[in-house]
Symmetry: C2
Subunit: 314 residues, 2 copies
Amino acid sequence: MNKITNLFKIKYPIIQGGMIWCSGWELASAVSNAGALGLIGSGSMTPEILQEHIKKCKAATDKPFGINLPLIYPFAEDHINIILKEKVKIIFTSAGNPKKYTSYLKQHGITVVHVVANVKFAKKCEEAGVDAVVAEGFEAGGHNGIEETTSMVLIPTVWKAISIPLIAAGGIASGKAMLAAMILGAEGVQIGSVFAASKESSGHENFKKEIINAGDDATKVTLKQIIPVRLIKNKFFNEVQDAEYTGASIEELKKLLGHARAKKGMFNGDIDEGELEIGQVSGMINKLKPAGEIIKEIMGEFVDEKMKIANNDF
Amino acid sequence: MNKITNLFKIKYPIIQGGMIWCSGWELASAVSNAGALGLIGSGSMTPEILQEHIKKCKAATDKPFGINLPLIYPFAEDHINIILKEKVKIIFTSAGNPKKYTSYLKQHGITVVHVVANVKFAKKCEEAGVDAVVAEGFEAGGHNGIEETTSMVLIPTVWKAISIPLIAAGGIASGKAMLAAMILGAEGVQIGSVFAASKESSGHENFKKEIINAGDDATKVTLKQIIPVRLIKNKFFNEVQDAEYTGASIEELKKLLGHARAKKGMFNGDIDEGELEIGQVSGMINKLKPAGEIIKEIMGEFVDEKMKIANNDF
């Protein structure tokens, strides 16, 4: 179909975001089996757990799948060794310098994609030799770029700056948004939030309910002085926000953030005290569905919208 | 062509944002003469100056044009009286309650559009009887919604919530972005930044240069505790940002903001001490052009992109 489907040998140019606490082998294999690219989110896994998920994912699908690896994660090198050992052929790296591992991974025959939030890093990725770039807009859930560039601006500016294929992320949960992203220059889309709320997501049921009940104003980016992160505006969020605006030091903010807040919220289901990382697009997610159904609906709407334009129907 | 072109009796579904200090009669008439809808930005004018601009705009074009009116502006009522007296037939209201003046204006045969940044206010507009809604995303320049909802998410969520026509604003300066916005549900687009940097803009040459030289990371939203506003990150911006993060009170922030900062920057050209309100999309604006040429280029690209999709060219 295009450069992205050819690169990953997939049917549809849709990549499921490798989100922490949500993207285990069940979700990744369900997505890959439906013709898109599933990613295991290794950022919340120990090397042993990652290995187990890779093995289970291989057993559950014969289609390509990949791993999302945040490079600042303490287990990053151990994870890479597991990925090489298990011969997974696709890695999406994020949160770190793309020059650090790209050539090493490519020497081992791995397709490498790096996630960026601005033009400067997109160019750095191209220099580092990655195969494609994910440009993730401000509307995306979880960790976020300090520039706060939105998908509507980020996609065309990155597209203009690089010549390798571009995948758009942030604010996409429908075929219309997918088509909009592709008109802006993307050749594929990475979709997170709607899969976090899917049947196969390993996120806690309470977290999925929060996503489904979220309105257009349910999330916001906070912790801008440490690492900006988009969260549902729950009790924990309000405490952080208040601390930031009353002049809390970075040490005080780190103390408030504490340990394992994301696990508490997203995996253990503590919707008040936990960190609930999700995209702004959760305002458009109203039902828990199987991943395969989500992909079918998005592709159906994508094709319908293309036809409407072809028929000049607006 | 569609509901928006019919509503305003214009050729192209493009509305020029009625920006303070940039949108006088020269810009509004140039835009209207080129087949789009020009707006005089009354938010930086006294009633006398507004009347003068309306008279000059009438003399410069026989096409429809309108007025942008921020409802929180102290001269709002005087402005309305001038607009009625001069028989201008289109008003875009913003920054205030759409219920306050809409029925009064409509009784006088005026087409009323209100600018919103979230679903709740879009519904309120529909109830108030406005003719159309502008949904302005977080990427837009100047005053900004506290929800920080981006165009990619705001356009489809507002589209779903209302049945009156929708105009998208924020992040749009190209035919591709215009088509993307229309796929997401808009029937027209409101475009600001690129017109602020146009030949006919009354903004200062120094301000126009700043827009043209801006990269993708040049702007940010600040003053979130008073009224969030997107600015170029200059010396003044940095002072405000530092004050916010060291726990400055609202009074201290207001004192720092002081008086006539926007005029100082945008109209008088003090690029260090002035407030330079502009959209994130300024990273894509690289040349000062006449307004008519901008509209021609945007419409050309819009039609080309539609053809590409019709021919399945991606």
